[in-house]
């Protein structure tokens, strides 16, 4: 046995008060069990949650939603900033690792010489000398060596005269 359904399309409008039953429809509804069951369902559904909806406050809900949206925008901005810093720090760390991991380079003699000349050795015992005394001490010291290394051409490949002179000195 199938449902009647003769009043189905009219029921929502009547239940919401937008229309009324005709005499014929009323008569049918009084005698049709199918339509009565459906009418009960539609009437109950039409008023379902009406009181719940009436308790909702659009103004306070709007305020709350807009506040939450503003907070979420701010949180997203802070998160983006934090990720930016993290990315920058990561890039910097990677750059340092690459830099420190590179093969050591041998400085040229020209580059090494000024380093030797400007080498500073702390001598606290000189700190209390007067300028004149300090000059006197400095005059007794050798000039700092700023020349080439032992493998300079003068020693690496001496000519006979230089060698003879050196041997003469050693033999007395």
């Amino acid at each position: 046995m199938s449902d009647c359904g003769w009043l189905s399309d009219r029921m929502p409008a009547v239940a919401l008060g937008r229309s009324t039953w005709t005499a014929e429809e009323t008569s049918h509804l009084g005698g049709c069990r199918w339509c009565q069951d459906e009418w009960d369902l539609i009437r109950l559904s039409g008023r379902l949650g009406k009181d719940v909806a009436a308790e909702l406050d659009p103004a306070s809900t709007t305020r709350a939603v807009l506040q939450r949206l503003a907070r979420s925008v701010e949180q997203a901005r802070v998160r983006r900033k934090a990720w930016g810093f993290a990315a920058l720090a990561g890039a910097a760390a990677a750059a340092v690792m690459v830099w420190t991991g590179r093969p050591a380079t041998v400085p040229s003699p020209a580059a090494r010489a000024p380093v030797v000349a400007s080498l500073q050795i702390p001598l606290p015992e000189l700190d209390y000398l007067l300028p004149a005394e300090l000059n006197a001490v400095l005059q007794t010291m050798d000039e700092p060596y700023v020349g080439g290394s032992a493998d300079s051409p003068a020693w690496a490949d001496p000519d006979d005269e230089v060698l003879d002179s050196g041997f003469d000195t050693l033999e007395g």
Binding site: D3, G5, S8, P12, A13, A15, L16, R18, D37, E38, D40, L41, I42, L44, S45, G46, L48, G49, K50, V52, A53, A54, E55, L56, P58, A59, T61, T62, A64, V65, L66, R68, L69, S72
Partner: protein, 187 residues
């Protein structure tokens, strides 16, 4: 779509949902207030009718609206703004039930409501309402939405079809399926 996309010109004519959404996206918070005022009641009824507890509806409505406005850029207008809200609310409610925060107040097979002290007719009506809520919660989404738009908003099938992005014939079929299933619960 339930409304046209004509730009706002005067304050006296009601603005369409797409126009209000566009205005909000340009920074007009008043448009948000108008959209919320327009749909909050239907959204609350939809959530309650879909099985949300009475004291949870306010929070669920707020959460649904927050999620909707946060990702407003994803609303393409294929369905109406209201239907889009219902979809978000439906997903929220489903997650709510899955997480165990929401609780169904009545089993479909339970014919007794404990603790009721109302007169007999109210008890019967209240019990039937709860059965309908339970039944609605168990319906497929389209069946439920068509049924609620028809019985609570009084929408015609043509309007429902536009709202939900379907055809009037399909909306009619969904409605009758929903009625058939729910009728068993109020007998």
């Amino acid at each position: 779509m339930s409304a046209s996309t004509t730009p706002r010109s005067t304050r006296s004519t009601p603005e369409s949902d797409p126009a209000l959404v566009a205005a909000y996206r340009l920074g007009d918070e008043r448009a948000a207030g108008e959209l919320i005022g327009r749909h909050i009641g239907a959204l609350g009824r939809f959530l309650y009718s879909s099985g949300a507890d009475r004291d949870e509806v306010d929070d669920l409505v707020q959460e649904t609206l927050f999620r909707a406005f946060r990702r407003l850029a994803t609303w393409r207008g294929e369905a109406s703004f209201r239907s889009w809200l219902f979809t978000i609310g439906h997903n929220l409610l489903r997650d709510h039930f899955r997480s165990g925060k929401g609780h169904r107040v009545l089993s479909l097979d339970d014919h007794e409501l404990p603790g009721q002290s109302d007169p007999h007719s109210d008890l019967v009506a209240g019990e039937a309402e709860e059965r309908i809520r339970q039944g609605l919660a168990g319906l497929p989404r389209l069946q439920r939405e068509v049924f609620l738009l028809r019985t609570q908003e009084g929408s015609e099938y043509e309007e429902i079809a536009m709202e939900l992005g379907t055809t009037p014939g399909a909306a009619r079929v969904h409605y009758h399926h929903a009625v058939k299933r729910l009728k068993e619960l109020v007998r």
